[in-house]
Symmetry: D3
Subunit: 261 residues, 6 copies
């Protein structure tokens, strides 16, 4: 097949949507959509840092990625019920954290942690790249919130923008931003995380039961880099508007009781 099922050009992104202030409690809360892939990305501020970092004076940024059981074509088991986090989940969580740490000066936070949560509400391919792209916006809002609260040593700790996109070889052609239907039969699959200052943060290319030539790698990088440029524009536009949501309030004095209900 030489045309894509959804009619896009090979180098065309799916419709991208970024909704800020999607929920009220976190310092940053974004719903990001890459076509039918929908991820809720939040940035919460937590006091303190992990044990190995205490006393350093530096902050930390950590990330957790997860798919809701009903987000996939066929319902998948809940990891909390199975009692362990699967390898793929771990791997993506680590990727999201590394990607966002590349753009932030953690010393500005003092010994505080920004916890990024990327929860996939609906999966249709590219959930990890959508997560990174949306989480950057949630992070930017959290930084604004912290700065307004006078909690930053440096008001501009973000040195660049971060976005990510998938690219792959499907039907023998290099295609950008694969939906599940293409991803599930791609010969090569690559995820690229880039900065808006022209550099790369992470490149992960994998032959799926196939191998690939160096020239194919180059073509995939070209396509992904161009896709990221479009994503940076969308992020900037989204962030240009005033914060649409409710700013998080200090928690009410806790009474020993399960939260929320």
């Amino acid at each position: 097949m030489t045309t894509r099922t959804d009619g896009r050009a090979d180098d065309e992104l799916r419709p991208i949507s970024i909704t800020r202030g999607f929920t009220d409690h976190p310092a940053g809360s974004v719903l990001v959509e890459f076509g039918r892939t929908r991820v809720m990305c939040t940035a919460s501020v937590e006091e303190g840092v992990p044990r190995w970092r205490r006393g350093s004076g530096l902050g930390w940024l950590t990330a957790e990625y997860a798919m809701l059981p009903s987000s996939t074509h066929t319902r998948s088991g809940r990891e909390s019920v199975r009692g362990k986090v699967g390898g793929r989940t771990h791997e993506i969580s680590r990727l999201v954290g590394r990607a966002l740490r590349a753009c932030i000066d953690l010393s500005a936070l003092g010994e505080n942690t920004i916890a990024i949560d990327c929860d996939v509400l609906q999966a249709d391919g590219g959930t990890r790249t959508a997560s990174i792209t949306g989480a950057y916006v949630a992070l930017a809002d959290a930084i604004t919130y912290l700065d307004a609260a006078g909690r930053l040593a440096d008001p501009q700790p973000l040195s660049c923008g971060i976005a990510a996109v998938s690219v792959g070889v499907v039907d023998g052609r290099v295609r950008l931003d694969l939906p599940y239907e293409e991803d599930s039969r791609a010969e090569v699959d690559m995820n690229v995380v880039a900065t808006d200052v022209g550099t790369l943060v992470e490149v992960q290319g994998t032959g799926e039961g196939a191998t690939f030539a160096r020239s194919t790698l180059d073509a995939m990088l070209d396509s992904a880099t161009a896709g990221c440029e479009q994503l940076f524009a969308i992020q900037r536009e989204a962030l240009a508007a005033p914060y649409p949501g409710t700013l998080p309030q200090p928690a009410a004095p806790a009474k020993k009781k399960a939260f929320g209900n």
Copy 2:
């Protein structure tokens, strides 16, 4: 304080919203909102039944409830990362399942399972009662879907509607549908699950460091029953419209690969 922080009358529900077809993959998918409490409730159809029920010819309905880490005022730890499901989560999952099994003739399903997932996107009190109320609508859509697919032995396996609401004693007054701010300081807390044919499914009343008179129990039941009547009307209205979402498609032939991404 004799008036409620949000200005409601003691016997008044928060604004209730039910959005069907919220996501595409499950047979039923609902976003339910009780004020700022927002829960995504889905009903997925799975082949087969748990081991203990095999060979019975009967179907099963199971439910899992969970809160997203960022759904609470202060971010809470992810149960999959801790490696176990907490007691409160277990308890609510069991409650949701029991509540919905009260309205369905499981023999109509054959040996298939309906898996209900209630994932709390934003918590502001009453998440378990919102979950039951929303999950009933997702269940109704899943039943319609199964019937259209010719997979039901009895086209009307739902014998009644199910809704639930919380009620409590706050500031010495019986109040309906408590938000977190009231729930966290309630002296008595009750959850009532009722049917639209005038009966009760579940009544759980708890003194929170206090005890309560039988007459208080009666007043709470009166209030909750009236609240459920309003919820039944809202459910009926929501279900009267044609299905707004994309009907789930059969999964593409699986290739061994992590789903969705």
Copy 3:
């Protein structure tokens, strides 16, 4: 069937027995029997409180419920071997703890914890209500012990007595204190925790594949309340006698070695 298998009247308790000082190490140790249901209930005093309560100056009371594998008709798997506590176990543990916290002024303990253990030696229905009824007596003995040791800020921290009983609809009739044979086929099942000053602590009524009218709820509450009155009398009689067991001794200086053997 209009008469009960064991010949009791519908509103009649099974033979109830409370044996204090059943074992020697805990501050309170009770064997409670509701017919053939037998539960060992102990109250142990532990220094310190959970992390979230430290620095409050207040004590805590926690409870754990479990069934021995051989306590049931058919041997059930050991939760320690499965590596997790089941939902039902969690739910009952939480119920027992809440019920007993309703009667105690935790500030009298200082930052110490009373750990209640309810281990079911033989199960024949009503294990959770027997647990609460027996645990209250173990708690009362532990309080006496603490007071004698001069470790209470207030010598009378118990504000009331606590007892619990099950009630249900079986064969269309409201019946009190269900054994397994009735419980397993009950249409409605309710557990009521009450105080000896005429108030309620917890009411949990559940339709088991059925629903129930408000009038049925009222009849069940009447029966359960009357049953609790009888249990209070039995508790008072049991506590009127001098402590029959060995008072716990301070532990011998520990050597690093597995205890007990």
Copy 4:
């Protein structure tokens, strides 16, 4: 100190008590007491054998040992809550199973399993040896029950009696059947499992921060062997009486519901 705290001679057992029919559901149920050490030992019959033994035509015998949290001087954590079985528990469970498998012809059971449970109600040293001694009696009762039900290929599958006792070096003297007070400061600690036909099943001797001469090992074996002879007599006397308990009944037809309550 040259005399024992409890006044016994060095080669004297504590008072031993064996109560058959202690609970009703298992095929064999024994309360065994070695002084203040009290263990509930049950033998339950389960259909089938572990996977690795299927198709062999042979039965199996397995054992699980556990201490109730309140059984020790200082309350110990519950292994089900910690989510794993500790090394000591595992080790003793394996010992009890091996010890009892030494006396039984497993081919007589067909592909069925006898599950031994040893739950320590009160620990005062020697819990593993009391467990083996009591479990043998529960096993003998289960065998009688199976034979009466016509479920044995060979009506006498037990080839000998099994008992066990601890012995150690305390205060420089070889002493039999150590209570916790002696066990916790013993220099050498040994557990001996023997048969009533004059042979040994298991010998486990351990220097506790000390080492021991071969002659000490010999003296400990002499003492333990003599102790076991007395235990065999007590077992025989206990088993000579008719079964005092209720014989287990076939389980009522199960309804899907948590057992017992």
Copy 5:
């Protein structure tokens, strides 16, 4: 610093050693050394395939990577004791499996599994790339063993050779095959898996708190590709010799007993 601590040129591999027949039981067993990094790589043949692949007629290849606790500079905790496999371990296990599946025609195995184990005896950087390079040789030996046993549908199921090497930017220079001392301070870190027919299998490049230019990526790929060419020559030389170890024997008829001891 413009020279490397160990005196190597920037594009020079550490001394590489491949020892076949390192242990006797697996079908392939290799000790691979990249300088002081030492990994034991084995390929075991197991009957059957994972559940999701049953009935396909196809085989499977899976891999597990782990570090011995004492393999690192500072002893690290044992994952079996912690009760879960860490994210890094999961990620590398998945990488090794994907890499080797790129070279094998799994249909030749029938429904059997090759289990690759990579256990790091000593870690000094590059353990994942050494693992892949060594595991390929163990896999080749296992294939020879299976072919000699007449268990392959196709005697040549390996379509190419596989090797991997790390490369990074240290002190501003692109350097090949980083030891821990360089890896721990690298600005960019990349792992490349390649085939001996000139294609790529996997490319994973990560900025470590830094980002990198596309030209740097190109330079790293050049260096890694050249490094892999040398590794292919070493693999071929190692495989040219006759098998030096003991060929695995069929297991003795099992008696139920812990293996090996």
Copy 6:
């Protein structure tokens, strides 16, 4: 069969080999071989002691034993993947720790811990006794290292040598140092841990589906004791040479990154 498969006399050890300095990072690192059984035994020094020992001024010694998955005739599952340590592993880990604590004055270490790791690379019977014998040598090297670093309060904290050997009854004959082929069909199986000053540390004898006479126990002890004497000579010879390995260096200043790779 009256001669052994490998041609040894009944009281003859397999060829024993002890390689010191087997890996570089731990303070002591030994490869011990009893015939084809090969175990890597390391002794690592860790700051601090377990919580229950803090403030005592005393050190601690702990041990962990594990088998690599590919070490057995048939590959065995990885305990980290299963998420729990099996009973046999726990039991042997505890045995190794107890055995080595018998020879060391822990007060000399200050509040530091020596962590012994015994990882079985190849299993052919006697892995636990080989582990103890090899770990003693690793411990001796770690002590020398600590003394050289001026970190011991007493330069000679080891009071004796420790070795261990298995013995059993096979084909009706008492035989020393059983390989898997004999161990798997032994009627009686015993492990003896002894000191080089003529005393015993641990004696564990088990009838494997059989029982044994006291005279057999004596014969097994005679054989094991003689075997240990030979092992002490081999240990002494191994330790007489200068340390052949690289002494561990202080770890480089850590950067937050996974170790080793």
